[in-house]
């Protein structure tokens, strides 16, 4: 603090006095205080208050760091209850690894908490002031929130160029490495650099790798659940980024430790070398891992009027697609329409109105849109909403309803209100204060939360264990995010997931695909991204492939077989991923020997 104040002044270099204390260390006296005191004596004031003087001493004494190697930060975090393995990891990194380490815990064991503890400890000790945290763009806000809420660290999400001047900045690596940010960052000295999802730095030829390598940093934490995915070189690169030379030069490493790109040798030595830079906690086999996910699909027949609307919309969408001559990329709005039919007539109506406005006045399509609106008019009740209400009354407990559509959300709020069911909304567009308010209401008197958004926002809803998927996103990651809000560490009950699924519609196929083929709802946490990563490598996202299948299919039979194909290739990938589980390979065995097995309490 005084040190940096001095640097700023610059014109008083003489205020630091250095003397040799012994062979190893010098002592520096900061004499800024003397200059200031002398000035006040000369001018006879101004003088400060005696009580404040005493309070200042008490404050400093209370913050004094009495010993080199205890964990000081815990007394400043009364609300945080880290798990034992998180504390022991933080201690190990601080005291045995001198603050440069790879945190390689398995997914769900709280690497963020470990990194937060280490960061907080360095801040409390005054060893770290300036911190850069690079994470995937989708996790920036979550990091900022966790650091602020759990650790009381004033972290800031990088938004503009001047954001970099803050002490603790969270940013996406893709932004950071681009101009003009790149030069700013390369000009800074970071006391601590944290990189989340560090396995993305496994290739030393990438710009990300080289950028991180060039950053000037004192301490450095790399977080990844998968330090090795395909071959031993990835591990070498990651460690070399952290501490060049730790595993020797590239050729030495190959000679000493590598038989084949997936097979190591001299396992004991390698393991020893790894354990000086890496901590990996694994979930115990015996311990209760997470509570169970219990999935129930609720098939619903549509009422005659709803079915009529569905068929009309399907016909409308197909006609438009055929007219467009197979150009499916412009048809996404129509796909949305088809999906909305399965949710609520309100959602369809809104989209139709927008479509109507966009259509030329003399277009014959306008009349067709009006026909569809007529179908909407005939619908008196929403079968899904009725069923949802029935479910909620039965469970008589807190429940979250997820829907993709804002209009459906509004409709449900109204519908529930008419039936004296206390519900609150939650959506992405709300500001933070309002979101927190809605959360408080839900925690308090509201029985139902109706959410249109599940991702990235770090909302913790462990106190609730019922989820109703009013409609399903076609992106499986979004489904997983929904469930993940509730089914996470701290959840004490089995989580019950209800999927409302209208029979004879596209929805029926989607539920079947996600549930039967990839067993999405019960999949081990963390398994899904691997499957999807491979799936998308081949072509487009699942969402795009589904849309395409739907538009191109001539009839229900055709559609069924196309979705069947998608499902088959997904289950094939799933088997592939499972068979390649790193745990069963020799590298995996070595990684697993680094660190400890943790029994996670539910």
């Amino acid at each position: 603090m005084t040190q940096s104040a001095n640097d700023l002044r610059g014109d008083q270099p003489s205020s630091i006095l250095t003397r040799k204390l012994n062979a190893h260390v010098n002592v520096q006296f900061d004499r800024t205080w003397f200059t200031e005191l002398q000035q006040r004596v000369d001018r006879n004031g101004p003088w400060d208050d005696w009580t404040m003087y005493q309070l200042a001493v008490e404050a400093e004494q209370s913050k004094l760091i009495a010993s080199f190697d205890d964990l000081q930060c815990m007394r400043t975090l009364p609300a945080l209850e880290p798990m034992p393995h998180q504390i022991s990891t933080a201690r190990k990194v601080l005291h045995e690894m001198s603050g440069r380490a790879i945190l390689a815990d398995e997914v769900g064991l709280g690497k963020t908490i470990e990194a937060g503890l280490i960061l907080k400890e360095y801040l409390v000790r005054g060893l770290v002031n300036r911190v850069l945290i690079l994470v995937p763009a989708s996790l920036v806000l979550q990091w900022v929130r966790e650091l602020n809420q759990k650790f009381g660290i004033p972290a800031i999400a990088q938004k503009k160029e001047h954001s970099w001047q803050n002490d603790v900045v969270v940013a996406s690596i893709d932004t950071a490495k681009r101009d003009p940010h790149r030069d700013i960052l390369l000009g800074m000295d970071y006391d601590l650099l944290i990189i989340d999802e560090a396995h993305k730095l496994k290739n030393k030829k990438t710009t990300n790798y080289q950028f991180v390598n060039q950053l000037r940093k004192k301490y450095c934490l790399l977080l990844t659940a998968t330090p090795v995915q395909n071959n031993m070189d990835e591990l070498y690169n990651l460690i070399t980024l952290l501490k060049p030379g730790q595993l020797g030069g590239q050729s030495e490493f190959s000679a000493n430790f590598v038989v084949d790109k997936r097979v190591p040798k001299n396992e004991d030595r390698l393991q020893e070398a790894l354990s000086s830079v890496m901590v990996r906690n694994r979930r115990g086999d015996g311990g209760i891992q997470f509570t169970k996910r219990i999935v129930k699909n609720i098939p619903l027949p549509l009422s005659a009027e709803e079915q009529a609307l569905y068929d009309a919309v399907t016909g409308f969408v197909r006609d438009r697609y055929n007219e467009s001559g197979g150009d499916w990329s412009s048809m996404l709005a129509l796909v949305t329409l088809q999906r909305e039919v399965c949710s609520s007539r309100d959602a369809v109506f809104l989209t139709l109105v927008n479509l109507f406005k966009k259509t030329a006045e003399d277009s014959p399509i306008r009349a067709k849109i009006w026909e569809l609106v007529e179908f909407i008019r005939n619908i008196q009740a929403n079968s899904k909403a009725e069923k949802a209400m029935e479910l909620i009354r039965e469970m008589n407990d807190k429940v979250i309803i997820f829907t993709e559509y804002r209009a459906t959300q509004e409709y449900l709020l109204n519908y529930f209100r008419q039936h004296n069911l206390v519900a609150v909304p939650y959506r992405g567009g709300m500001n933070r204060g309002k979101k927190d308010w809605m959360m408080d209401l839900f925690r308090g008197r509201a029985q139902v939360l109706i959410a249109t958004e599940a991702g990235g926002e770090g909302i913790n809803l462990q106190f609730c264990h019922h989820i109703i998927n009013f409609d399903l996103p076609w992106n499986p990651m979004r489904v997983e995010q929904r469930i993940g809000r509730v089914h996470r560490l701290g959840q004490k009950n089995d989580v019950k997931i209800y999927n409302l699924c209208t029979l004879g519609t596209i929805e029926e196929h989607i539920v079947e695909l996600l549930h039967e083929k990839i067993n999405l709802f019960e999949l081990v946490i963390g398994g899904l991204d691997h499957i999807l990563e491979r799936f998308e490598k081949e072509d487009q996202t699942l969402e795009q492939r589904l849309s395409k299948a739907m538009l191109e299919a001539g009839n229900t039979q055709d559609l069924r077989s196309r979705i069947q194909d998608l499902g088959d290739s997904l289950s094939r990938l799933k088997e592939e991923v499972e068979s390649e589980e790193i745990e069963d390979t020799p590298i995996g065995a070595i990684l697993d020997a680094v660190g400890q097995t943790v029994e996670v309490r539910p």
Binding site: W47, Y53, A56, E58, T76, G152, D189
Partner: protein, 326 residues
Amino acid sequence: MNERQVHKFVQRYLETTDSRVVEKSPAHYIVKLSPQADRDLTNRPFYWSFVDRTGADPETMTMLLVTDKKKYEERQNNEQHDGNQPGGATQVNGTSAGTPIGAAADAAIGRSLGFVHGSLNTNQRIPREDLHFGSRKLEQLFQSAKSGGSYVCLFQEPDRKNAHPLQSTAYTAWLGINLKVEFACDMKREEFHSIGVSLATGQCVEEFHESLLGLRMTPRLPPNVHTAKNALTLNKAASLAESLIERKLKSYDYGWAQGAAARLEEELATIRHYYEPLIAAAEDEEIRTSIQTQFERRQDEIRWQYEPRVSVSAINCGIFYLAGIG
């Protein structure tokens, strides 16, 4: 600092800044801040620069400062339960608020927010701050105390019983400094030292601050007091204080620094082993320079991380006139 110590600290801070306590319990204060405290605690630099430029009467903030979160919330809950909504907080499936006014309020909120069920306490608009040790607001109080309590000049209040109207007591001026000593490498620990140096005789004492706490001090020169002539300049006194600390520090065990120096050497050897062959094998000049730069940067980083250092800086200091010739 535990909750009680925080509570006491906050009380003394509020008193000495002339803030007005509106309501208090052993777990909280509701306080209307004084302008001085408001400037330091509320993060409103724009507001205050506006007040300073226009000379407008400042409107300071009222805050709820919770010094014991658990106790405070227990009390709040009890009050709620004793009040007019028995079991209100736990009841989930309740229908809309029973009273007509409650229903009207719900409707009004509903109109602006979609639908919200009203279990909200809308009359509470006083910002709340939890002041536990380590919280940001308490840290702000600490900072405020530090900046408002850096340099003092004080006189010991004479003991009234002995005061003879015609007798003058001799006072000696002392330089008092409270120091923080930091021992750092890749880890760190700290010590507090308080040193007093008599400007009359050059005598040095330790634990000076503790000895002051037993006395009553005043910023004004008391009657019937004269001050002894200073034999030392302030500069000389400061050097004496530093020598005292230096002698003390020399007697310490520096095993930790030796260990850090050894780690430093080991790390430097590791990267030499890595970079030197790379530099030797580099084919063109450009690559060699880039590896060389990397090598040097990494060396700097390692020194930055491990180099053992001891630094001494002042927390605050002052001139203290104490009875007697010291």
